[in-house]
Amino acid sequence: MSAFADDPGHETASAMAAPSPMQVRDRLGFRFWLPAVWIAIVVALATTANLLPLPSPIETDFAALSNWPDRTHWFGTDQLGRDILSRAIFGARISLTVGLLAPALGLGIGMLLGMAAGYFRGRVEAVIAAAMDAVMAFPGILVVLAVTAYVGASVPLLVIVLGVLTVPTFMRVARANTLVFAQHDFVLAARAMGATHWRVLSLEILPNVVIPMLIYALLVISRIIVVEGVLSFLGLSLPAPWPTWGNMIADGQVDLATLPYIPFIPAALMFLTVLSINLIGERLRARTDLRGSAL
């Protein structure tokens, strides 16, 4: 009640009247389930692409050049007569592979560094923070371009470079959460009982840091899928003729005026996928009350 004291503003009023956290946890709702179903479909199709009765994504069919969507080709065919549905499904593999592996790499490294920085503080933290600042001083896309120019376009390389570029943000989230939990009683108690640093970090802090990290990772995944899209749009991801959503859009852009379905189908798939991940992330963030302020 005393919170109400000197500010009759609405926020304190609603905070006062706020029910207990248990009551707030309503159901996840369709804003969660609808995107979740979409992601499940995309993932299922992408992983089983080889087993599905699909036409080859790279073989050209000269009998069916630039066919608008119909009953045989649900999404139509492109200028080389390749089935767009098949290409879209195989293309999803690249988006998902890069979109999952790069953040996984960044999360792994970032979490280790962030936990070390937040737990040990002092010089460890200073060195790690300085290293991260150095990585952030570059616009990330330039690093990818420069490396690609040298080594050539390849998916593993893309995963490594993009993964490294996500380390600083993951590190910050991990550090912020570690700082919070390192002050909690259960950690202090464990320390007082003579637990080693390693034990405290892995048993007491890690379980608390990992959940917010995973939720934050959703945001990074959607961002990386977009970046992969940009790079493959520029022809710097998987080499042709293998499809990615980005290079399908780039190929289709040539005949944008006459055959708009060719670029817009992969564009729509990409948009829906990124939107779905964002919506899921937002819903989960709201539920676990992890805010951007963790940064």
Partner: protein, 334 residues
């Protein structure tokens, strides 16, 4: 309180509800009082008793979307609650001004002191340029700030807390308001500065024949600077009297408890302060009877079931209280 003359401000059965997810929160619940020119009304109560909400309702700065206000606030005969927002804006800052509790948060941190003063002058008096600046300098001098010209160019963080509150007072007094609402003007300040600020307010008030509502949780502050006092609890006025009458003969157990909980200079050192046990009630679902009942030593069944009304204790009708079991005097209830 009983003197003749028309009231400057007459508040009648004023109610302010904040909209919350749980339902309306009754921050101000049926408050009535009146105030004449040159007079000071003290409003006292614990944190969360609705004092600040009352102040902000009178000056009309609560969000219309998040609050509902009913009742009547007659200022110079006009009901402020029925005025349009533009008309109300003309009154705010010119006829009614307000000083907030903490000058650190009530002065804009990124604007120069001078601008924060002159914008009121421009808004209400049409003063601009040199005229505004010289008036601002005058105002800063009148609230006792040295080097007023230089202060105009400074930012709030370059001043001490006491100096900032003087600036806030200068802003409030800029257009010679008829009513000043001072919401805990000294709570955030050092004890030594508190008296200076209260004296300053008092002097300016006498000089301009201004009415003042002095809000405080500290009965000691109120005792020295007010003509009448209203004690608030859980959004309601529970006792209201002339300052003299209240301090000599308070009737409401809550007032008595407040008096006991205030430190007294005549007490020997290390005397324990007597805090009021318990917490104020939930203002979304207040208890049905007397709102102080759950914390009151004297409470009986009637207190828990029926709400006492504010009524007079004497023939003159100047000392009002809402209690089923009024105490005889603070001494008797101790």
């Amino acid at each position: 309180m009983t003197d003749a003359g028309p009231a400057l401000l007459e508040v009648n059965n004023l109610t302010t509800h904040f909209h919350t997810p749980r339902g309306p929160l009754r921050a101000v619940d049926g408050v009535s009082f009146s105030l004449r020119r040159g007079q000071t009304l003290g409003i006292v109560g614990e944190s969360g008793s609705g004092k600040s909400a009352l102040a902000r309702t009178i000056i009309g700065i609560l969000s219309k979307r998040r609050t509902t206000t009913t009742g009547r606030i007659a200022f110079e005969g006009r009901d402020l609650l029925t005025l349009s927002e533009p008309d109300m804006r003309d009154i705010r800052g010119r006829d009614i001004a307000m000083v907030f509790q903490d000058p650190t948060s009530s002065l804009n941190p990124v604007k120069r002191i001078g601008v924060q003063i002159t914008e009121v002058l421009a808004r209400h008096l049409g003063l601009r340029g040199c005229a505004a600046r010289s008036r601002a300098t005058e105002l800063l001098t009148s609230v006792g700030l040295s080097l007023p010209e230089e202060r105009l160019h400074q930012y709030p963080h370059q001043l001490s807390g006491g100096m900032r509150q003087r600036v806030a007072i200068a802003i409030a007094l800029a257009c010679d308001p008829k009513l000043l609402i001072a919401d805990e003007p000294t709570t955030s300040l050092d004890v030594t500065i508190q008296a200076q600020i209260l004296d300053l307010l008092h002097r300016r008030q006498k000089a301009h024949d201004m009415a003042m509502i002095l809000i405080s949780h500290d009965l000691g502050v109120v005792a020295g600077y007010t003509d009448a006092v209203a004690v608030m609890y859980a959004g309601q006025v529970v006792e209201q009297a002339s300052t003299r009458s209240l301090f000599r003969n308070c009737r409401m157990p809550y007032t008595a408890a407040l008096m006991r909980s205030a430190p007294n200079l005549s007490d020997p050192p290390h005397t324990r302060l007597r805090a009021i046990a318990g917490r104020p009630p939930d203002m979304v679902l207040p208890p049905p009877g007397c709102r102080f009942g759950p914390r009151c030593d004297h409470a009986t069944d009637i207190c828990r079931n029926e709400r006492p009304t504010l009524s007079a204790s004497d023939a003159v009708g100047a000392h009002l209280y809402a209690c089923w079991h009024p105490v005889a005097s603070p001494g008797a209830s101790a």
